[in-house]
């Protein structure tokens, strides 16, 4: 991992397209600005990791018989005729 020290308002550029700016530092919080093309997704790491972990949990299911949940969704009742709008 490349470790750099930056002061507020300083930036780093990654490749040609991504720029990270230190917008503000207050106590133990650093506010970062990220400039990247819209085709590049940017995530908070813990959100990314939470999804990853949930996927791994989901893939663990060895159950192949879903009939107990399926039978509760009878074809006639799958969707109410009028979707509620609010």
């Amino acid at each position: 991992m490349l470790v750099l020290t930056r002061k507020p308002n300083q930036s780093i550029i990654i490749g040609d397209d991504v720029e990270i700016t230190i917008v503000d530092i207050q106590g133990d919080k650093v506010k970062l600005g990220v400039s990247a093309p819209r085709s590049i997704p940017v995530y908070r790491k813990e959100v990314y990791e939470a999804i990853q972990k949930e996927n791994i949990e989901a893939a663990r299911a060895k159950v192949t018989d879903l009939s107990s949940i399926t039978k509760l969704y009878q074809p006639g009742s799958k969707k109410p005729k009028d979707k509620e709008t609010e």
Partner: protein, 155 residues
């Protein structure tokens, strides 16, 4: 075409049934190809079976069959990944997690699976905020007509 799977034994599918996930699904970068396996005629559930790894399969469901208020704003990165020009071309599914007992099954509303069925492409989108939960109970209705609704928090 045939593929030997862990849960279903050998499955048969058409080449047109292959879905390519250019970036795979989070946590499973080794699997880029999947196919959908039906649970049954009457069921809103499907299996997303990996065609690269026999033991990787996810239960997915069309959230519209179970929820009325789940709205995903598809971002540009996602559209690019699955070569969609228009959000209308995208079909959304959510992954179901079943822990020890099937009654505790939940849907991941924060990491929906987006499919461009025309191009046979797919990806998993990570929603940035916590409007929707990682684990929303399937909340099996007491009457078949009931449909659980996801509330969107008014800010």
């Amino acid at each position: 075409m045939k593929f030997e799977t862990l849960r279903f034994g050998e499955i048969t599918f058409e080449e047109s049934g292959i879905l390519v996930f250019p970036k795979g699904i989070l946590g499973f970068p080794q699997s880029l190809k999947y196919t959908m396996v039906e649970e049954g005629d009457e069921s809103p559930f499907f299996w997303l079976q990996s065609l690269d790894e026999p033991d990787i399969a996810f239960i997915i469901v069309d959230p519209e069959t179970l929820l009325t208020k789940y709205k995903v704003e598809v971002d540009q990165a996602a559209m690019t990944d699955i070569q969609a020009d228009d959000p209308e071309q995208i079909k959304i599914y959510v992954i179901v997690t079943i822990p020890e007992s099937i009654e505790r099954a939940t849907m991941n509303l924060r990491g929906p699976i987006l499919l461009n069925l025309e191009q046979r492409l797919g990806m998993q989108m990570v929603l940035q905020d916590d409007t929707y939960p990682l684990r929303y109970p399937l909340r099996l209705p007491t009457e078949p007509e009931e449909k659980p609704r996801v509330g969107v928090e008014e800010q």
